[in-house]
Amino acid sequence: MSEAIEVARTYLRPGKKLPTVWCGGCGLGIIMSAMLRAIAAIGVDKNKVAVVSGIGCTGRMPTYVDFNTLHTTHGRGLAFATGVKLARPELTVIAAMGDGDALAIGGNHFIHACRRNIDMTAIVANNQIYGMTGGQYSPTTPHGKRGTTAPYGNIEYAFDTTALAVGAGATFVARSSVYHAREAGLLIEKAIRHKGFSVVEIISNCHTSYGRMNKFASPVAMLEWMRDNSVSIKAAEHMDADALEGKFTRGVMVESDKPEFIQSYDEMAERVATDPAAVANVKKVIQSYDAMADRLKPENG
């Protein structure tokens, strides 16, 4: 059995959930399988994976994968994921988001998640458009390109997702594209293995909306564009600004060490638990502290 079939059999939800709601040829299927290959390579128990999303075509991804799955509200996936992870740190938590989801309505949650460094992985499926709602321009639609709400060309400027993540403090930041499916899977795997908040942006094709309005004849034409207009970070080091104009870079932008949030929280909790002044202060407010503390212990909860 090929690796792809094996992964599909193991990780796609059995039963009536397929086919997906996605248009034939949509890049989101490639991103989903890249994510599944990454999880398979790490070998995490399916019960210990939570995939969280917001709203959009990308937001539908959790429906199909056989984990603990949470399809939330538009833009809020990371905020829900934060709660899931803090309540059950043993879970591998992945948030799958569209570009609008992650960077427009959810932009605030995105930068704060980067800053906090909770051990989760954000996958940003960047198709440079609001796919689900019919092709309105998004915060990553390039200047001059068209959307159904930018019929004369976009006069705004696009976010550089990975630069934003780096600036906001994410400790692992990478980018690939659906053309580079294998690389995308390997980067997601690295991101999940990274201890801290990781962001992987995957450039994807929404030929139905973005492609149609911006003169891409087919999904294939969009994939070829990704092939011809991206350079690996290594190669980019030897190229000047002119040569890089209009191209995006692929690879790991940042991989750094910073104490992870939950680890820091637990260290703090341990420190204050043995601080008589802190304990006394709490007991002043909570007279039945001992009985209550007992009840809060997970084994009694």
Binding site: K17, K46, N47, K48, A50, V52, I55, P62, T63, D66, F67, N68, T69, L70, H71, T72, T73, R76, A79, F80, A81, T82, G83, V84, K85, L86, A87, R88, E90, L91, N108, H109, H112, Y265, M268, A269, V272, A273, A278, V279, N281, V282, V285, I286, Q287, S288, A291, M292, A293, R295, L296, K297, P298, G301
Partner: protein, 383 residues
Amino acid sequence: MSESTVKKQVLQGNEACAVGALAAGVNFFAGYPITPSSEIAEVMSQCLPLMGGRFIQMEDEIASIAAIVGASLAGAKVMTATSGPGFSLMQENIGFAAIAEVPCVIVNVQRAGPSTGLPTQPAQADVQQARWGTHGDHAMIALAPSSVLECFTMTVDCVNLAERYRTPVVLLSDEVIGHMRESVALPAPRTYKVESRRQPEEGETEYCPYCACEGEPLPPLAAFGGEYRYHVTGLTHDARGFPTMVKEEVDRKIRGIVGKIEGCADELASYEEFMLEDADVLLFAYGSTARVAKSSVRQLRERGVRAGLLRARTIWPFSGARLEELAGQVDLVVVPEMNLGQLSLEVERVICGAADVRALGKVDGDLFTPDEIAGFTMEAVGR
């Protein structure tokens, strides 16, 4: 101090609310600071790390409610606290918790609005927002405390109800109650009931997180990370949690989330009755206004008006049963509220002309005085 209480202590309403949450087993709190609720977050941030729980200050109230719903799905007992502006921001995700049937508690220490309004002044102006703030058909449970002790007991109740009905529950406190300090003897841990959501039976093979047919008891809620993998979505879903557009399933879902709460309105109703036995004038009040109304009842009695007070502890679901009974006894119902008549509409609806209902609204940022309510009532009875 008796067996059933702990030593008397001076506590603020907001502190008592936080202590109540911990007493009920809340082990996850996410919030964003806002007057007059911030003390709740402060106490939680102080206590939770010591008690094996987790506190996080999120980037806004949208994220706060999102985080508690996520944590609840991962098995935690959860709460957030806010006031008007933050409560407005939470509404979309409160609806998510309602349709996805995820237990969570939202404390709203009400202040005067709309918008930034009067951040440090009390109001009761979010009564209808608590009921209808999120879009779509849904039901809501909301309780209103009138004392520091009730900030404690009702927070315990809110957590219990959230867990029992798998639904968001709102504690509708207000600035006066939240910031008031009283000497209270809190009940001892053994004396109050603490409820937790049901868990799937061991060895259950086909786990369904939602009702599959009408009137079925609410299924248990498995925690993420256990042995059942399932799907949670804000899309209308079937018994397994997957999106559906099948008319019968959609209809059952919406009627189900409304019915499980509205169907228990009388059971959930809780009142304090004061001097009602012989009353022919009824004051109907809740929250800090009810404290004042009690004094007004005494004043009215001194002036020869047989007044009594029905203080509602449960605001939503609104139960008409007791009011209907009393409507046969009294000629006049006065509803003082720190808003322009938000709950008086419900009173009018259930009394349905059986007695005269008069709303007394106040929106100047101040608490009622006993004279104001008594004077208005005297005028209404024509004296």
